[in-house]
């Protein structure tokens, strides 16, 4: 069976991406002993694996953080948290300086200032952004990096978190890690919906297929409140490769055109959701395919190739394939076909994730969230994820130092003795170990993690507004989704495993099923269509401002989810009740 190991750290960070790495560095600077758990390898894990070629969240010289907050709020059609956006925006430019200080090449103009692209975007040579962050973590003192260590559970009592459980592929063991300050930085959830590319290429997604919603699932199961999951992100990207289009749209000022060569963006509006909708409507009306089109001379084309090598090498390969087939002549009018992705749950571009206060505390004591795992603050990107991590790390440090100071009496609203606490902790660990080991005792059958994943993705695609239905869903369909997901979840509890990799693979589908079920509840609760580009509720096809509230959810004590409607936060600080 599984051996286990008990560990304890002052602070624990789950997920070593943009947010997790920055939080580790910040906590280390404050002298806090911290463990950073990463399911893969710090060097190139997460969304940043292939690199970036721009920092998409930055406050240009003539703008202020308030402008950024307003822009993001407007882009979300009113449904974001002002306090979160503003506090994040205030720390964006600091992250740019930090990244530059650790070696990132940020493009400058002749005067030596950052060369702004638009008012909130900087070009970088960012192939190496993740190795740079990882090196900075490895240089930091007090940080224990645990790679190939996949967190599976929070060790939680009602309302508070005592630690986390993780499966380590290096040690072939289950780790129980006690900590008084835990940060979830596991990114968002891909793989809930049927992907656009078939079979062997099914993991060629826009979002990282390795961000499987683990942090969200752990939080949901521990009773944390989630927000706005129904605002799924649908990415309009280069067809086939799902490579980002910012380089074309912002870098080369390419316009979206339909197959008749007509520019149509102005007809639909320019929020993120409206841009996605525009392409879809044009195709539905028989005017597809749609393209991003721009003129290039030879040098500009070479720059474009390099830009894509910096963040999505497959797209450069696609250009090269096209060029070999039909050699280019200049000036070159390049048309890149665009397509929209399957939906994701992630708090980096949209607002779905943990419900946090301004300090990025979740509703569970001892648990914080930052980056794509945290909700309420869309348009985060790399620098925003880092900014949130810094805010969380500051607050975690404050919390730990307060606790360290014996003069300040801590008021716990529960009265258990240390001994009782230890006993409960041991009991929690034992239950988790049993749950995981159950899979080793299950005899192999015909249900596997792969065919369950297919079933999940097919269900979500058909009944919860996936690509296949043009992102449309109805009440009746959502009811079907709920029913099927419940059955799939029951089946997933008895998946067999013969080694730790099997266990991790089946755990992935188990956590996706948890997130998917919450998502369907959220979709059912928002009885309007606020972001038609991201999804259309066919029973409620219009925007309805009585739904200008946050749709939140949390586990009920007797099981099942309760939906909580929370009024829009327009102030600069927000605290949990």
């Amino acid at each position: 069976m599984l051996t286990h190991k008990n560990l304890e750290f002052e602070a624990l960070i789950i997920g070593g991406g943009a947010a997790g790495c920055l939080a580790a560095i910040k906590l280390s600077q404050k002298g806090i002993k911290v463990a950073l758990l990463e399911k893969a390898f710090l060097k190139r894990s997460g969304c940043l694996a292939a690199g970036v070629n721009a920092l998409n969240a930055y406050i240009g010289q003539r703008k202020t953080p308030l402008d950024y907050a307003r822009y993001a709020l407007n882009d979300a059609h009113g449904l974001a948290r002002f306090d979160l956006l503003l506090s994040m925006a205030e720390k964006l430019n600091k992250q740019v300086s930090f990244l530059e200080s650790i070696g990132l090449t940020v493009h400058k103009d002749q005067t030596g200032r950052y060369a702004e692209r638009g008012w909130r975007n900087l070009r970088v040579n960012g192939e190496n952004i993740k190795p740079l962050l990882a090196e900075a973590v490895f240089r930091a003192q007090n940080v224990t990096v645990l790679e190939r260590t996949n967190a599976t559970h929070l060790l939680a009592l009602p309302g508070r978190v005592l630690g986390a459980a993780a499966l380590s592929r290096n040690e072939e063991a289950i780790l129980f890690i006690k900590s008084r300050a835990i940060l979830i930085a596991t990114g968002g959830a891909a793989g809930l919906y049927r992907p656009p590319n078939p079979g062997l290429t099914n993991h060629r997604l826009w979002y990282s297929p390795f961000n499987t919603g683990g942090g969200l699932a752990m939080g949901i199961k521990a009773g944390a409140e989630m927000t706005t999951l129904e605002m799924r992100f649908v990415a309009l990207r280069c067809r086939d490769t799902f490579a980002p289009t910012g380089t074309l749209a912002l870098g080369a000022m390419a316009e979206q055109t339909n197959s008749f060569g007509r520019e149509y963006e102005a007809d639909y509006g320019r929020t993120t959701s409206q841009r996605v909708l525009g392409a879809r409507r044009e195709i539905e009306a028989g005017r597809g395919p749609c393209y991003l089109q721009a003129e290039f001379d030879r040098e500009a084309k070479e720059q474009l190739y390099k830009a894509y090598l910096n963040m999505s090498p497959l797209q450069t390969l696609k250009f090269l394939e096209a060029e070999r087939n039909t050699p280019f002549s200049y000036p070159l009018s390049l048309r890149v076909e665009i397509a929209s992705s399957e939906p994701y749950v992630q708090g980096g571009h949209t607002a779905g994730g943990f419900w946090v206060d301004t300090n990025r505390r979740t509703t569970l004591k001892g648990l914080w969230a930052a980056g794509d795992a945290a909700g309420g603050a869309p348009q985060k990107y790399v620098t925003g994820a880092m900014a949130e991590a810094e805010i969380a790390a500051d607050d975690m440090a404050g919390h730990l130092n307060r606790d360290k100071n014996p003069k300040i009496k801590i008021q716990h609203n529960f009265s258990v003795t240390q001994a009782q606490d230890n006993e409960t902790y041991a009991l929690l660990c034992r239950k988790i170990q049993e749950e995981l080991e159950h899979h080793f005792k299950t005899p192999p059958g015909v249900i596997t993690d792969r065919n369950l994943t297919e079933a999940l993705q097919k269900t979500m695609d058909l009944y919860a507004g996936g690509l296949g239905t043009g992102y449309r869903y109805s009440l009746a369909e959502l009811r079907e989704a709920k029913k099927t997901l419940k059955t799939l979840e029951e089946l997933s509890r008895d998946l067999p495993a013969s080694d730790i990799r099997d266990l991790l693979n089946l755990w992935e589908v188990r956590e996706k099923l948890v997130v998917a079920q919450s998502l369907v509840e959220h979709l059912s609760a928002r009885r309007e269509t606020r972001w038609p580009g991201f999804g259309e509720f066919t029973d409620f096809p219009e925007k309805d401002d009585s739904f200008l509230v946050y749709i939140n959810s949390a586990l009920k004590e007797q099981g099942g989810l309760k939906i909580i409607r929370r009024p829009i936060v327009r102030v600069e600080r927000y605290e949990h009740e």
């Binding site: 390898f41 190139r44 040579n125 062997l200 086939d240 090598l309 696609k318 394939e321 070999r324």
Partner: protein, 111 residues
Amino acid sequence: MSVFIDQNTCLGCGHCLNVCPGDLITLTDRNTALINEPERCWSCAACLKSCPHGSLKLFLSPSLGGRGLLLTARLKAPSSDNKKAGPIRWTVSGPDHLTEIITDPIRTDGY
């Protein structure tokens, strides 16, 4: 699936084992690299950049519009005085044996 491993040049050094964001790569008992469950590959090219011998090559599947071109990446270790100096060299080669090299002056982390 979009990474081809050249079994003739792979020396089994294991550098690529420690970079994949999906932790997909292992060594075979013949001591060459292997992508476990290749259909889980994201095509991020992280492994390419870690291979000192150019044995890992990215290709575009026909369903994504590929016709057999292969892309490799070679990183030069940074010179000690200027971290940003080391270039990355991308090589594209095709079934027609034409090769093209794109060099990008990004700082790299060596191998």
